[in-house]
Symmetry: C2
Subunit: 329 residues, 2 copies
């Protein structure tokens, strides 16, 4: 019997749990351990006979683990965890602070090279599958313009920002792409679009009893960076309604490139769209197939930090080269 790829999870939140679930849908990978910075006794995982261990002990288990999937957040967890774990493990993470990717890549690259490991950073759908579509579309149509639209989906960052407004008890924010802008892009017209023209922000807010609703509305709509450059729609609802109707974590979006070829300027439109019931479960599924690639690249003697741009698609699939050419090419 062929040995399965042994995968460990660092951090057991929505993403870590999603990785555990995604591993169950593979035939060639298995969960080896879950590492946590919480008290391991307080963390209950779904898989039987798999240990939950303190993150601090991870290094002593390195020989039992082929790939460590880092399921921490990009704000404070990953900038520290990424370089630290890449020294001892092949890693995959979902670092998604776009502006800080170059510096993060360098830090992880140094650590991974020093340890002789492969570390694939910024894996998921954006960055991740959307990035892939941007590079393929731009490489094929160098003369053109690429547009990314997000939603309709829940933005955790914007929901959290609303929750910090005085008088707000709870809130969920949806990012909504504006159909008119998407249609203009699909026409091949390559329009110049402002932030306001591309996305709408729709908020479902539970106010504390007696709170000044118009003050809350004003505070949200004028919040710098988060809302001031957008048209924002606010609905005040009850806590029960929020729980009943807005408990899911749907998301999605679109990458559209239009460009031209030839002497007469033939127009072409390439569109990629995701519609996701669960953002964390989908992101986890992407992480898991890149863990397969990290393992294979490491076995092939590669080291250092990689992004999705550096990974040949065949490395993501359970299927052999022969099967892929016969059935998917």
């Amino acid at each position: 019997m062929v040995q399965k790829i042994k995968v460990a999870i660092l951090g057991y939140g929505n993403l870590g749990k999603g990785v555990e679930l995604a591993l169950r849908r593979t035939n060639d990978m298995e969960l080896a351990a879950v590492f946590t910075r919480r008290d391991p006794a307080s963390v209950h995982i779904l898989t039987e006979n798999v240990p939950v261990l303190p993150a601090a002990q991870a290094v002593s288990h390195k020989d039992e683990i082929d790939v460590m999937i880092l399921c921490g957040g990009s704000a404070t967890d990953l900038p520290e965890m990424g370089p630290q774990f890449a020294k001892d493990f092949c890693t995959v993470d979902s670092f998604d602070t776009h502006a800080k990717i170059p510096a993060y890549f360098e830090a992880v690259d140094q650590a991974a090279k020093a340890g002789g490991n492969v570390a694939i950073i910024s894996v998921g759908w954006d960055p991740g599958l959307f990035s892939l579509n941007r590079i393929y579309a731009e490489s094929v149509l160098p003369d053109g313009a690429t547009y990314t639209f997000w939603g309709k989906g829940v933005s955790q960052g914007h929901s959290d920002a609303i929750r910090r407004v005085p008088g707000v008890k709870n809130a969920i924010q949806y990012t909504v792409p504006i159909e008119k802008a998407m249609e203009a892009v699909r026409s091949g017209a390559q329009p110049q679009l402002t932030t306001r023209e591309k996305h709408l922000r729709e908020c479902f807010v539970v106010a504390e009893e007696g709170a000044d609703l118009s003050a809350i509305e004003q505070a949200i709509k004028t919040m710098p960076n988060y809302f001031d450059e957008y048209d924002t729609v606010i609905h005040f609802i009850s806590e029960e309604q929020l729980k009943a109707e807005h408990a899911g974590m749907p998301h999605g979006g679109f990458v559209i490139r239009s460009g031209e070829t030839g002497e007469s300027g033939c127009k072409h439109v390439i569109e990629y769209a995701l519609k996701l019931d669960s953002n964390p479960e989908f992101t986890s599924s992407v992480l898991v197939c890149y863990a397969r690639a990290a393992y294979r690249m490491s076995k092939a003697g590669q080291t250092g930090a990689k992004s999705v741009f550096d990974v040949a698609p065949a490395l993501l699939s359970e299927k052999s080269g022969e099967e892929l050419r016969a059935h998917l090419l």
Copy 2:
């Protein structure tokens, strides 16, 4: 100054001309020569100061060429050309007879390895970009179903088949995806669809004077393999109308995968769509960026036949790793 990648074209039809045009939109590649099996004096290319030479003399120019793009047809040209040229050149081709890809890959692989070259086969949009979307989507969502729809677009094979019907002077056939089937797929329902339910065939036919139109209609609609399994719509039009309204070579299509994750079966839909004004110009643009990859893979010491599955996306782009991570990731 950095040396440009020197690309040669074998075969100067629609595809070869498209490659010439696509090379003009790159900064790092240039046309080195066009090889033809016709009389070179009869072939007029757009680029000045580039030689048009007999295909039989190609080998004597191998030191002046980094990559040869094989612009022949899949039926008779490529099965011979592919292995023959991969012995002496790094090559890229658009071999698209799906059922024969495994055997073609083996033949080209042997030749490319013997010659120490990289040969990327079956490049274009299907096989090609559509194949990439099938492998990415299936790797991320192993439990699900993938559907490919083609059109609306001109099928040369079906147009040619109609032209062979007695009494037909000229014809163009459009493959049309059926919206109802696509909507069912997008809903995540994973429907079982028959050939007839997925695509419609729409034909614009110029009949010879005095021809029996109902006999033509009958002959087309019952033609085995090409039309008998489809609903076919036939319009008789004049030669002038055909030239005025159906001279383009538009095409496109959709790859849609729906699948589920997690314990509760969260649904996700991944959709990729192309809308192309010119099928050959777009296909040529894909060939050109894979020529860049073939050159880089060869410089990195690789040899043998490859498909789009084996090519890391970064190899397709003019941009450096740093630029890609900063701007596209």
